[in-house]
Symmetry: C2
Subunit: 436 residues, 2 copies
């Protein structure tokens, strides 16, 4: 073999602990997370032909080093893989990482190791899409139904979704695909904004930012709730008054309640016409979500950003625990597992409104929502992608929203890449005693 | 204040990556875990009065360094805590660690961070029991019902178990406590053995060890299954023939199947009179466990060793997914969360048969089973603790089984302490190129 035959090998993984000191400004504060420092366990795959792929895990500060250590620990499973093999088998990287029994023991399929696998899997996809010169949503959208089925690990899913059923979903979505791609390129995808509603903001900030959101063209705003009911009634009333009756208003409790409290609290706010109640209780507790959904109907229940794998989403849908599924780009085992989750949502006829914000989540998850419309659900009804206008300036292909809609990304890849200067400036531990 | 007022402070945490090269002998091999190297992320809390507490997380090899890194990352939350405060409030250490929002994001309440919290919480309990001069089961057994309630984090539990209901369970168990303690000191607690049944063993090993188990006084043996049905039928038949009809025979699939396969496979083995089917599918999937339990009845379903927190056990019981609950000493957030799980099992009237084996699991979990009989369920009916006769020689207070029964431990603490020479010999990476 000639040396050039080696040119498609992943030869190393670079990992950076990147932390933005967001707690100084109370951005991102909610009932559970009072002082987050939005962070990323950030990684690049480097091939010996010079091509690269980027991925990250979003965390909120302390422990980001543990997340980085997990990625480093998994690196030996990836270094040496041939990119042609990854291209030929879209489930290969995911399977290689998920089926290592030693690492699996540390989950299984959850927490630090699972998110590390997700970041590496996403970096692998990024590498392939860049080499193909396509933004991720188009790269995925161009795959055949059979290839998409091959992405999914059906273990533990077949009581709700078989390979044949998934294939039928993907095949049905072939029709009209080109038109939906054109539509997204022209019109983008509806966004909603959480920017007005952080708990740490003053009333004046809340009202001003709510009005601004409407002026900016958003159709829905979301408020954090769950610390104090009378405070919440006051804040939700202020927001509803600021946006008027024609704009949707969702609330987010960030896992704050038990079942009975959730039902009482949401019903005490229902007069303000709620678009959904998000994360009312433990993200693990689907029995509770189902009880809450019954208790607060017709207010829909939304959850998923902390739902740790496809098996959990499957049960959430089987039990009727959510009427809105909120996928996250870095909580599960990467694009492969998110394809499984999108297929499950389509099977159960439940709409998907992705979680975003954090570090790079808007950048990545927009590709999955666009792909879902193009090649899975083929629906936009009631669907929006979360938008938080923080930290985009650090990315080389930042998400952009115009007139309340995500603009279709057109640069190759999954958009997780940060500017080298940002990585250098915010690499932790910081080089000076002051925060950067 | 005089300097001696500082004498009860936790001043440092020491962490060791300890790995035993068990894969060389195929001990511990099952359908999912073919080559485990039984390992421990091992930690000691050191107080400045010289007292210590020990805990560990059991892992199966690769990634044990990530588990150690998680313990190190949490250490700053613990160093400086006053032991008198921990004594006064048995929920303090657990709450301090679980309520850090940054680390919580990495779970929440699952995976590497959650197990790290469990090891530290257990080390804190070990410290207190040693200072009191009591083995853990007696230390816990001596607590008042009110103190036991204070150990439990009821968040997300109240739709199934309220503080008042838990208090009633603990209060009812006060009666006859002294008699049950005496009974355990005299008779011990029934054990069952997994030693004959590892997948990597030959037929001859299987038959010889099965017969030996009966001769040793065990009332139940357990076989690993799930790789090949005809092989399993042959192996289960061999074992049943070796032990005769009077001894119980359980099978363990280690998460191998989906729902339909599980039901068919178990029913194809049911003629051999099965005591239970363990881990038939994903440990996250209670909807599936409930479907399997209906489909294989009257064979009971057992699970829990990978069930990652009290919320998951709650749903497992609410949905009827398990007739045998298998607690683990190092998967959840320590003794506090295991007290919650024991109380839940008592509330639902389901028996507990702890998972053991691994590194130190027999040593620790026996205390929880003994405590359960003394002060929670007050029942021994159908209850046994798993026994695997590996690696006990490395512990300073090894578990011992006599005539098929765990002997009551009498040394102070939670028995997680390893011999310094063992830690030194098996500390990873090994100092020579050969395994120790």
């Amino acid at each position: 073999m000639r040396p050039s035959a080696l040119s498609n090998i992943i030869e190393r993984i670079e990992v950076d602990d990147v932390r933005f000191p967001t707690s100084l400004e109370q951005h991102g504060s909610d009932a559970m997370n009072l002082d987050p420092d939005y962070s990323a366990a950030y990684l690049s795959l480097h091939c010996n032909d010079g091509s690269t792929g980027t991925g990250l895990v979003f965390t909120i500060g302390r422990g980001n080093d543990v997340q980085c250590a997990a990625i480093e620990a998994l690196a030996p499973l990836v270094v040496g893989l041939n990119v042609d093999d990854l291209t030929a088998d879209p489930g290969l990287l995911s399977r290689t990482l998920l089926n290592d029994s030693h690492f699996r023991w540390l989950g299984p399929e959850k927490g630090v190791i699972h998110m590390a696998i997700g970041a590496i899997v996403n970096a692998g996809w990024d590498l392939l899409a860049r080499r193909a010169g396509l933004p991720m949503w188009k790269f995925l959208g161009a795959m055949t139904p059979t290839q998409l089925v091959a992405c999914i690990d059906f273990r533990y899913l077949t009581d709700a979704l078989t390979p044949d059923e998934a294939l039928a979903i993907f095949e049905a979505a072939q029709q009209g695909k080109a038109d939906r791609i054109s539509e997204l390129e022209t019109d983008g995808y509806r966004a909603y904004t959480t920017t007005p509603g952080w708990l740490g903001y003053t009333d004046e900030q809340l009202v001003t930012l709510s009005k601004q959101a409407v002026a900016d063209g958003f159709h829905l705003i979301k408020l954090k709730v769950g610390k104090d009911l009378s405070e919440d009634r006051r804040r939700v009333a202020l927001a509803r008054d600021a946006i008027g009756p024609g704009i949707e208003l969702a609330i987010d409790a960030n896992q704050r309640w038990d079942v009975a409290t959730a039902i009482d609290w949401v019903n005490a706010l229902a007069e303000f016409d709620l678009a959904w109640i998000e994360e009312p209780t433990s993200p693990d507790d689907f029995v509770a979500h189902a009880a809450i959904a019954r208790g607060v109907s017709p207010v829909p229940v939304a959850t998923g950003e902390h739902c740790h794998n496809r098996v959990m989403f499957k049960q959430l849908l089987q039990l009727g625990g959510a009427q809105v599924v909120q996928i996250d780009a870095t909580r599960v085992a990467g694009i492969n597992e998110n394809i499984a989750i999108l297929a499950l949502a389509a099977k159960f006829g439940v709409r998907v409104c992705p979680h975003a914000g954090g570090v790079g989540l808007c950048e990545m998850v927009r590709h999955l929502a666009f792909f879902d419309y193009v090649a899975v659900s083929t629906s936009l009804e009631g669907r929006m992608i979360e938008w938080v206008d923080h930290l985009h300036e650090h990315f080389t292909d930042p998400a952009t929203v115009s007139s309340g809609r995500y603009v279709a990304p057109d640069r190759p890849g999954f958009s997780a890449e940060m500017k080298p200067a940002s990585v250098a400036q915010f690499r932790f531990p910081y080089r000076t005693t002051e925060t950067p």
